[in-house]
Symmetry: C2
Subunit: 292 residues, 2 copies
């Protein structure tokens, strides 16, 4: 059996009991390490599972899937994924390959940011499509997210913005010389994300986002304890002015709030507001939310 | 500490290791029993946890929250929720009450249908807002879901339709006589859901849904093993013509497929098609998906 197991959001204890049993029964355990990052070290997972983990980067999953699937028709093989196996990035491909080899597959689900974003208090059914925001360069500033946010906002819906991470990137020089030397991982911060959003707003100027009247909710390490999870909300301007530390450790996500906003949700998130007064004022005046 | 713990989707082993530890450390453990249903008996959970569970119905959570929160500033109290604590229905209210009493709260996330729907192979970021479909009566046929699906479809997005359940409902007679006798639980089946969708289509006639050219994917018991999880897809007409048993045990959900459809997704779901040929044909012709 090929088990594809979601690890959840924070640390080694977020695996489900079923997932842990499958890891323990598996002959080989792969750790997917490119669509997201773990918040704990691999060694800590290994100690908890009592198993060696084989890191599987994108290359390996794409080119060596035969090795991953080897003998999985006779013994258990586990493939671990941060969040849920069908989270922001799906693992359709490896399932299709397993099917072609007549290897049974079982998915063990877990929380991912796609549902745990509910921790900010906004009703999940009022979220529209999600978008990803990549690091801009001087010459490459993809802005399709702007149209997606516009579509969502037009319907009053919230948008979950997933912020870019760069893991196992090579510098241009190392890439050119074929040296497999990797840069340290980079995570987009909330102020940087907001600045990119507003840069596109000022280029496109379609009034989708406004520094002072668009509300955002930043989340990091959702599901972690109080020392680790951070939820911070305010106008985009307020968020962009906070020091990076305010937002806690990566990974970060950002919700652009749509105007299907209930007063209970405003009250709930107020606890996390940079400035409670602006938060309520914008919710009431710009969003038309009837506060008590 | 008040722990609000997601139980995940299927059975007692879908709780996370962290969640299980919190249950074991808690002086009292409540089981929320009105926004969703468990697929296992309460007794099986109790045996697994080694703890008595106190069922908490909607009445109790709304009127006796003081009792639930009693002493939670000094000892651990656990409140168990099927799926994720902030799933289709949120538990904002009890968190706000705990905060007012200065009781620390920790949310332990888990999979819910809102992210596990990815099991059907469609990319989660192409889902729009979710909708709920309630049992129609002769005189009450709320149809706002139709506008929501229309909004999503207009953007090419998929819609997750959550099908109604009726738990702890009283008959009109028992209600009138004040007898706390409850009807057996009822779950909306996929054919019934499709028939309600098409009934509203024929009333509103805005060409949002078509029996022969709208594709749907039905899911039940997502995350269960092969004997329990069912994914069935086809045109709405095909789905409505299947015997109820085809869709497996409740709970059921239904995805209305939007036209942001990738050929890999079509291939993936084809495995579950009522008729592979119609599935591919409609994906190609009506949805304009370039199949290989």
């Amino acid at each position: 059996m090929l088990y594809i197991i979601g690890l959840g959001l924070c640390d080694e204890k977020d695996i489900t009991v079923r997932g842990l049993e499958a890891v323990k029964s598996s002959a080989r355990v792969y750790l997917e390490a490119y669509t997201s990052i773990l918040m704990v070290q691999k060694e800590r997972l290994e100690a908890f599972y009592g198993k060696k983990l084989i890191p599987a980067d994108r290359d390996m999953v794409e080119t060596e899937s035969d090795e991953i699937l080897r003998n999985a028709d006779k013994e258990d093989v586990a493939f671990l994924v941060v969040g849920d196996p069908f989270g922001a990035t799906t693992h359709i491909d490896i399932v299709l390959r397993a099917r072609a080899d007549k290897i049974p597959v079982r998915i063990i689900h877990n929380a991912s940011i796609m549902n745990a974003v509910g921790a900010c208090g906004l009703q999940l059914y009022n979220f529209g499509q999600s978008v990803s925001l990549v690091f801009f360069t001087e010459t490459w500033k993809p802005d399709s997210f702007y149209d997606r946010i516009n579509e969502n906002s037009g319907l009053g819906l919230h948008t979950l913005v997933l912020l870019d991470i760069k893991v196992k990137e090579q510098s241009e020089e190392n890439l050119a010389r074929g040296r497999k030397i990797y840069e340290p991982p980079r995570y987009m911060s909330v102020p940087q994300a907001v600045s990119q959003l507003l840069e596109i707003e000022s280029l496109r100027n379609e009034k989708v986002l406004s520094p002072s009247t668009t509300l955002g909710i930043a989340l990091s390490r959702v599901g972690g304890d109080d020392n680790s999870q951070r939820i911070v909300c305010g106008t985009l301007e307020e968020l962009s002015q906070q020091p990076t530390e305010v937002f806690g450790e990566p990974l970060h996500s950002l919700v652009i709030v749509g105007n299907r906003l209930h007063h209970l949700e405003v009250n709930f998130a107020q606890e996390y507001a940079v400035n409670k007064e602006t938060w309520r004022q914008v919710a009431s005046k710009a969003y038309g939310c009837a506060l008590e």
